[in-house]
Symmetry: C2
């Protein structure tokens, strides 16, 4: 059934599929819907056209069927009601020429109307592969891990950071005061909460103007500038203007709410940007939380890497969010893995994070190339912010040296206090 | 439990929620996560800050609980495993000041990290409401229904259209040939398939240059110019350039693959555009197909209307897609309903459409303000394209005059042939 690969450059998409039709049939339907295969014959639809543009099914891997459909389909109810739903992974190859260097066209091909197809009761984009020659034509990350480390002047350990809280509502001078305390405590990285961009009572410019002098003041005595990912999300013109204002003010990072700024605008900012792009993935839960629908993170992060972000959130282990720890670790590993010549990006751990999680993270990732953001784990530390930051560093020292945090804490009061306060959670 | 409304301008979001925690508790968690309510006390977190920025729960409407969670949550498994999951609708009000005129910030507030919250096993954005004073600050549709009708010079009946097929793979001259036949057949509207933007073998410019002279030639004898929604999706710079090329060539519409171009870029094109924006929603299935997750269409279309699109796809009745007919009709009605001073947009019906569906659509919508796109229903008509278009118009004449299509077809061979060929499907 699987067709012979034609002499053309192809990219591929790996899907989870569920259907009451056999997988061989539904694979052909998907390949047809997403290229030129199934329509009634037309004057132009020659063998030559198909050779040029048709998608082809590369592989089908069956999984055990189920008796209840994951998703409702009115079409299947009418056409092929069943109590058996086949499941499996299918890989489909598309001609590079169909798409060109065009992120929306790429996504429309691998994640477009196929989610609507009546024959499927489950469809999820698991992964994509691109030929290196094709992938290198996209923007890709400008700074990645090494560029971010250079700007932070932090090497050989994770970048320790936090989020300005409360999430929203601070006046500019209050924001600056929080940043002042964090920098005094030795923080490496600070980010805005994703909710805050430019509230009427604390506009972007007022926040930038209040915060940057504080950061610069601390940079002088720290010998490095704490990186501040300021949220510039908004209209294209505003984002460009804000980027320039941040660069002008000596800032070293911008943050974008990726899903709601969108692919074309993120890529546009990337082309213009002199600074690393901190990618916040809020809204991601809607795309991934049903395991039979939407996107898996390995595919998602590849698309955003092509668009050119440098950092990407992956939740945290033992967090307050829905996600199992293994999924968080897999997400981070996918950010760290090169693909098709596109450089790795920095995975950003946050939500319910604190010093004691360092050994778990290190043992699973075998890497210190990450941002570890703690909110309460730093600001809520009994010894204050400085001790909170210290505890995070000590947690990572213990992890890297393969000493238990409890043993390491015996001579380190900041780590000991963190274990005491957060260790029972 | 519901708090007193503060003296401030607010917008609201209506959610479906499911949780093993009582709805009153989970509503407060969501309101807190999406504003400034729940974090440990900080110096700046005064009563004044909360009055300024905190979200508040407006209403809670309980639905019958269920015994099995819709979505997995590792957090709930650890903290509050249960065999009872409360369900209901909750409405939350947010201060307008938190967001300002900023689409990504608006979406981050109503559709951000709340999808990740561990306490919920179901969360779906059902609707949003905005004060008129706030809504009017966004771009909004530039052409809407009346502007589109004027450009098409079609009044008092639906705009009858089709999609250029095969979806992808035609050479520019082949595309022009298809368009020539469609225009000769009297079509009102033609769109690119969403898969086609600028394939290497049929670049955007080559397609535009091949097609526009054909459309102009027919406009001369039709006394109206068929509207061609040419797909300009891509990078911001390419979209701007392509828009200008379309306008320069005398085209009357541009098409954007909304979800993958993204909100900021679509709004940017809207600000620049001299032409109606035909919004294609491919990928939408991933956001909506699980009824306990993601978005309902009424909320989705409002966001895109704020961004300024003029037409939006809603699938078709009895289509090849998963969606039940009632859902399709509800979607179309939401496009046609004014909200907060934002003008209606044209709902676009497609997928498996033909002449015989007109009465059903008309009786349910009580409106002819729509685009009715038929693929095989026009191109596959036994009498050819011209008869296919004729059959669609006759179907709508019958519907508007409340005559049965079968009776109407007795003296109209094109409609009769359509009923014969497609009526048994």
């Amino acid at each position: 059934m699987l067709s012979h690969p034609p002499a053309r450059e192809e990219f591929t998409a790996l899907f989870f599929v569920e259907s009451s039709y056999p997988l061989e049939k539904v694979s052909e339907i998907i390949a047809g819907e997403q290229s030129s295969g199934t329509f009634i014959s037309l004057p132009g639809e020659s063998a030559e056209l198909k050779e040029r543009s048709r998608a082809r099914v590369v592989s089908i891997t069956e999984q055990p069927p189920v008796n209840v459909a994951s998703l409702h389909s009115e079409f299947l109810k009418r056409k092929h009601a069943s109590d058996k739903y086949f499941r499996g992974q299918i890989e489909i190859a598309f001609p590079v020429e169909n798409v060109g260097v065009n992120i929306p066209a790429l996504l429309t091909t691998v994640a477009g109307n196929l989610f609507e197809i009546g024959e499927v009761t489950g469809l999820r984009l698991l992964d994509i592969t691109l030929p290196e020659q094709f992938a290198k034509k996209f923007s890709g990350p400008q700074f990645g891990i090494e560029g971010t480390r250079s700007l932070c002047n932090i090497h050989d350990r994770p970048i320790i950071g936090t989020i300005i809280k409360p999430s929203i509502g601070l006046m500019p001078e209050q924001t600056a005061q929080v940043v002042d305390e964090l920098c005094a405590g030795g923080i490496d990285f600070i980010k805005d909460d994703e909710l805050t961009v430019s509230p009427d009572y604390a506009t972007f410019d007022a926040r930038l103007n209040a915060v940057m002098p504080v950061i610069k003041k601390h940079a002088d005595h720290l010998g490095r500038m704490p990186m501040y990912a300021i949220n510039i999300s908004g209209s294209v013109d505003e984002m460009l203007r804000r980027h320039d204002a941040v660069a002008e003010a000596g800032g070293t990072c911008i943050m974008l709410n990726l899903n709601w700024v969108g692919h074309s605008a993120v890529e546009h900012i990337r082309k213009h940007s002199q600074l690393p792009i901190h990618g916040h993935r809020n809204g991601w839960g809607a795309l991934t939380r049903n395991p039979s629908l939407g996107f898996s993170f390995p595919a998602y992060q590849k698309i955003w890497r092509l668009c050119g972000i440098d950092h990407l959130h992956v939740n945290g282990i033992k967090s307050k969010f829905w996600e199992p720890d293994e999924s968080v670790i897999d997400s981070a590993l996918s950010c760290l893995t090169p693909f098709s010549g596109v450089q790795p990006i920095v995975p950003v751990f946050s939500s319910g994070q604190w010093a004691g999680q360092a050994p778990d993270l290190y043992n699973k990732l075998k890497s210190v190339d990450l941002m570890h953001l703690a909110g309460a784990g730093i600001i809520g530390h009994p010894g204050g912010i400085s001790a909170g930051v210290q505890s995070m560093r000590e947690g990572w020292e213990a992890a890297i040296n393969q000493v238990s945090v409890h043993q390491y804490a015996q001579t380190r009061p900041a780590l000991a206090a963190a274990l005491e306060k957060f260790g029972g959670a």
